[in-house]
Symmetry: C2
Subunit: 143 residues, 2 copies
DNA sequence: GTCAGTGCAAACCCTTTGCAGAAAG
DNA sequence: CTTTCTGCAAAGGGTTTGCACTGAC
């Protein structure tokens, strides 16, 4: 077995507090999922997260991963990123930022610098309120 | 039966030329789909389009609608709009514009005016070229 | 005839759901 | 105890695919 290069997860206590602050009961599975997910800013599909969580130690079921991600999204702990019809990505960074999506590789990354023009919103349709703005720059691998 | 308020489809010949200009062989089914789709700027899912095409006159199969929409997208005749993990929308307007998506109603609409700031692209990751920019403003219905 | 296009049904795959057992407080 | 959560397997639902048939040239 290989030596883990660095601790891939953050402190349990920190995660538990984070969950509680968002009104999420910190069950064992949720904490484990959150430790993996919030270890660093990243974009994971449910399946990728499932694999990562179950690669080290304990086992969390697929249903629980899906349920938990939906819960986290509802509670504002993660941001759903919808760029690929075949799967949803979950972004552990909920602060406002934009994305590159490489349609050839399926890779999703952050636009590094605060996007130049923070456009102010156009006037919204009557009876609606803004819930968020998604900016996705689709890329292709050159040649 | 109700009187059709206005012709819902555009001239066959116009559509056929449009397909040919995009290297798409104008088969009967494709022309029919295109007539429906390009009658006006709109956002339709494959299923909605299937229903619309088959409501008046001839029959086109579900497989053909899906195949055709993929073909049209590949050939640049329509723009895929990915905002909802449960289904892809096809936009008959391929010119650069932004979208509102009401997450409560599932309604997809255009941002009416040229969005104020046409932000210039940030520098792209090495080895990639831009393929398009999607701006989606998610809305909720104000109670 | 040849080759592309179509239709049908089955296959796919991600995601959700029903329900019984387990855990949290 | 009571309520919420988890796990399993099955169901769901949009989309794709295999394959035989049709049609255009």
């Amino acid at each position: 077995m290989e030596k883990a290069p660095e601790k891939q997860s953050i402190d349990r206590r920190v995660v538990i507090e984070m969950l509680q602050r968002h009104d999420v009961t910190p069950t064992q599975q949720r904490v484990e999922i959150a430790q993996m997910l919030f270890a660093r800013p990243q974009h994971l599909s449910a399946d990728q997260l499932l694999a990562q969580v179950n690669s080290e130690s304990n086992h969390v079921s697929k249903a629980t991963v899906y349920n938990t991600l939906n819960l986290f999204a509802r509670k504002g702990l993660v941001r759903e990123v919808i760029v690929d019809p075949s799967r949803v990505f979950y972004d552990s960074n909920t602060s406002q930022h934009h994305h590159f999506f490489n349609v050839d590789t399926g890779e999703l990354t952050d636009v590094p610098l605060p996007t130049l023009s923070m456009e102010q919103l156009p006037s919204l349709p009557q009876g609606t309120v803004a819930a968020g703005v998604d900016v996705i720059i689709r890329l292709r691998s050159a040649d």
